[in-house]
Symmetry: D2
Subunit: 388 residues, 4 copies
């Protein structure tokens, strides 16, 4: 559970500035609530619109102390204040991630950035170089990796509880694009616009979540993949279906079944990992349970806050057994772990950064490489294509 010992050590909360996620955004409230709910951050600065006036008004309306007209202005002003922000959270449209992150990193700010990291691999790699050079902390906001039971799965795989990995299956079967929406028809939804969102909707938007989730849990990256990505909904231009097969160096196989046009489906993120001794099954819609199948023994039903969890799972759970935690709490775990890593640095703790678990910039780069490789394989009608 949350002891907040790090805040005690620092003597204050971290100060956060947000860029993006203004009125009408889903992800804006998720990030801000995630940052606030564990009492480790105060949100003191914000850019909430590409229109300066609307941005400043939105900050007032949300009760955020300092609204700015642009990310550049915010970064400049805040880094020149004594009580300026420590951390910046970027949740703009994908095409702007790179420029805002570059500026922030160069200004010495720690960064939390939405996925996909950037629209090109070159940009992603450039960010990775900058982070290394400037020695800032960087979190790629793959929110599903914050769930306690996803972390339990990761720890179990690492401990060898299911043996050597043989098979990974990740479904992501959403329904919200089963019909053409108004914002899609009139072009106002940037997610459906490849100039902003990147070349391929489905792989970048949710395929990357599958890829990261598998990577996070198994600590394995595939050697090659075969992908088909296509449009199933008449009248749409952005892709809404992809099926991707994966081969791992140890002979294991993976498969993704991903769509956003499954009529009537909800969120549908479902992970199954099987090894030589057992398997793990996790549904995002029931995130507080993890089914542990065992070779020759009955399945165990592990639950958040319950018995026999690894420390990484218990660290991520803020309330007691049987009280469900949801998506926002999972997201909040990323913010918490990130805060503790930063404070450990500030307070010159012995280097125990390894205990703070959040997706690092390398994982963001891996995600962009995955998108590129999937699109390349698809162009060649599913040819098996190396990820290296």
């Amino acid at each position: 559970m949350n002891s907040n010992n790090m805040i005690k050590k620092l003597g204050r909360r971290l100060r956060l500035g947000v860029v993006g996620g203004g009125p009408g955004s889903f992800i804006g409230g998720v990030h801000r609530g995630a940052a606030l709910m564990n009492e480790q951050y105060d949100i003191v600065a914000a850019v909430l619109s590409s229109n300066a006036e609307r941005s400043i008004q939105a900050a007032i309306d949300l009760g955020i102390p300092r609204g700015y007209g642009s990310a550049a202005e915010m970064i400049h002003s805040e880094t020149n204040r004594k009580d300026g922000i420590d951390v910046i959270a970027i949740m703009t449209p994908n095409s702007e991630h790179f420029s805002v992150a570059c500026l922030a990193i160069k200004s010495g700010l720690h960064v939390i950035c939405e996925k996909p990291l950037t629209n090109t691999l070159a940009e992603a790699e450039e960010l990775e170089r900058l982070v290394a050079k400037e020695k800032v902390h960087f979190c790629a906001a793959y929110g599903y990796s914050g769930y306690p039971m996803v972390r339990q799965a990761k720890a179990m795989v690492e401990a060898g509880d299911i043996g050597e990995i043989r098979m990974i299956q990740c479904d992501y079967v959403q329904g919200h694009l089963a019909e053409l929406g108004e914002s899609e028809k009139d072009g106002s939804n940037w997610h459906m616009n490849s100039a902003v969102a990147g070349d391929d909707l489905i792989v970048a938007d949710i395929g990357t979540h599958c890829y990261h989730l598998c990577q996070f849990v198994t600590q394995m990256l595939p050697a090659s993949l075969s992908a088909e990505t296509c449009v199933l909904t008449p009248g749409r231009t952005a892709t809404d279906y992809t099926s991707i097969q994966l081969r791992y160096d140890n002979g294991a196989r993976g498969a993704f079944w991903i769509t956003q046009c499954a009529a009537g489906a909800e969120h549908g993120l479902y992970l199954r990992v099987f090894g030589s001794n057992g398997g793990l099954e996790w549904h995002q819609e029931q995130p507080n349970q993890l089914l542990h199948r065992q070779l020759g023994k009955p399945a165990r039903l592990l639950t958040k806050g319950g018995p026999e969890l690894y420390p990484i799972a218990n660290r991520a759970s803020k309330i007691s057994i049987g009280h469900p935690e949801g998506y926002r709490e999972g997201f909040a775990t990323l913010y918490s772990e990130f805060a503790e890593a930063i404070i450990a640095d500030i307070t010159e703790e012995d280097n125990q950064n390894d205990v703070f678990v959040y997706p690092k910039i390398a994982e963001g780069v891996d995600g962009v490489r995955f998108i590129n490789t999937a699109l390349e394989s698809n162009k060649k009608d599913g040819l098996w294509t190396s990820l290296n």
Copy 2:
């Protein structure tokens, strides 16, 4: 979803002071996170221990601006500041609810108070009179009533979607007291101490949740009840099992099966309501689903954020379909609705307070009356006893 229009109207967030929930408390973090996560409150003052020094240090450690040595001191100081608190949240041991709440109400503060409201019915009724006299807002913190799908259930019953109510069944099958705990043996757990927690653990601690949940959803109060409450765990003095039967004026029947000593169980709050045309089933452990059984038609699986919900359910949901919300979000809904009711008053909105749904003080009084009546019936070996 959360528009926070009320904050916009007021031009600032509400200022909250908390009493109780210090280091080691489960409910403290729940309340504070619930208040913070929707960006409607700043927590600016706190009393976090009955020891003044520890209280003040705890506030510093949590990053709360103003720590106080006692509730009286906090109320006095804050009501004399221009930027003092608007609202007080009370999560002390049960026996102190009454005195703190009295002082706060008399000082014109709005109050959120944990259940059970008080340890005696006389105190509860006195608080009710004070609230009416001082015209403050008062929220009895029955957290389960904040879940979107519980609110959907309430709206469906009210709309007649399941016809006339015939049967209500509420299970609450917890497992955390299946063994005598250390804090129980050494007396440090005030929940197990009747001098502090009231005469009967199980009815007061979780029975009241069942009672309120049924009342909240059906808007019906039973006419009489038959109760057995007893100790099943050897060596325990506080009760850990109760079975209560209810009769309603319209002929409907209710039954509660409540325990905290079901070995291996988790939270186990499970509500079933059947009417002449259908039924509703809700599990707190999977709170984002509501099963709607229909006479002569297949069951519908209603989901948080999904289609065909009533406005009250959608108001309570902050994130989109398929992204689970948990216990803390449910709790946050109480804080949100309470904030909006208060701001509507402050900003002299037309009286639309009816749209803000949170448990009022009368529901807190009902809960204490229920406890008293159940204990009375139990003393008479389950004699049917009137609740009036």
Copy 3:
């Protein structure tokens, strides 16, 4: 799995005659299919209507070799044939169970009889005496006790896997009587007619199943009970709701919540048993799973045909893991165990009858005693009433 070694020993299948369950009956096909599907019985004789002509025609239509005009005629003829029946199965209206069973037992036939055994306790006890005297085998057809995972639960309780029993909860929430049916209004449904079905519908019809299931699994009988049984559906005379509390000699508590008028519900038989070390949960609608909760350890999900089951569960399962078995297979287990017990006698096996598990006549008598006691308690507004 089914080895059918007993048939091999006997050199032929057992010969079965059925009384009742003619055209339009639900339970007739269940019994006959249950008898046939494991290849241990041939059904060679039948009485399928109280009208002799219709009975004989129905046997022809079903392809049963010998149809009779009455039970008496069948018993007389068959016991005078060399290839006559060994076993009689009685599934007539309740009020006829006694007379048919008496005649059969006196004629030396083994008997399978539907529940409730009889409409009066005196008749039930008379049957028990006759069975003892005539040394025939008698099976009370409590079908739910045939499910593999119910048998697993029984074996686990017996082995002490959940410790000392503390709580038993059995729900039986059916929906098929949520409205007055045509056959109820016109009187053609004998189940709703107390002259035929006994004084109380709900307790006799399905309450006895709860009672037996708890008895079968825990091997405990309650010392006393408190019951309410009433009519919730306007216009009905037969009871359709009962809530019964139980006290056991060791201090354990039990509770039944039973109805047939839960609009939109299906079958709803749900058993929960908690002991000092764990608990068991079983739903008839998903009968191939048994949830084993453990104190301080994660729950285990036991499955029919799966690992770590007791022999009694594996004996009752005819097909491999993951292939679901249903209600008729559970019923068939009673027939199988009964067949093997009879053949063991016939073939003069060493007395290993203990290994054959089916509800004996004493359990039928217990069921009638339970009905009587519940009705007596109900008349006294729920007074705790001894079962001895």
Copy 4:
């Protein structure tokens, strides 16, 4: 429900002979129980071993009247008796299906044959020609197509309830081959021997079930496929993993994820079909439910025996709502429908054969073609390969 009107019409049950499924076989008991439980067949003849003596003894031990030393002998003798068999059921090792079926068809017997139909496409097509020529009925025993809710799914797709099909996903994730078994190591398990079972275990053994299930439900056959089939378990020679992608003429996509080496998994057959207006989800392990997702409306939970089912689902259900039916009942539906089709012919009913739904020989041929195409694609590293 089962009226057995056809047996009434014929004046007797059909007479069945079985070939294969002797002692130790799983599928033997399934077939015989399925034939018996609905009272439409008597099993009068059997070949239960390739060893004549053992075959005849096994028939005696099972109480089957006429045991034979070989299929040829049985077919010859029975077709020369007045009371000889009407129908033959073939459940031998795959490599013998062809020869036995040929002989039976040429002798005018109706045939029920296990899948895969044959080991080569040429043989399958030859059988199809023979069936057409001899005008017998032929059932390919794809057992999962007998489940009531699979039939409901079929009827819903046909009625357009989910709109135009866009996506089909079928998982079949078994665990029983997660380790090398003794019978695999010593070669006694014919399923693992390609000389008997065909070139590829996983595709032939369970892949064909997925293929048929999708075909049965959607009435669509894919135009092309891309397949990978491989061995994941060290030391095994037979394949135990396959992932297959499908393209349909209307643009729809399909995907199979199939394995028998998922450690700790059970049966794992899971079908999802999405169309433009909704989707259907069915799990074999919970076969009595069908989830119907709807565009813009809450999901409906359809249940066997419940409201709003199509006649084809109700025909296949033998017992009332809430009483689960399992694998053997599903299998029994194939036998029932097959019986009724045959009797309709014999009794010279008007040709209403369309109402009798069981997998025909053409579906058996489709299955063999699918196996061949999948193996061909796999050899070319997943090249998209036409099924025509």
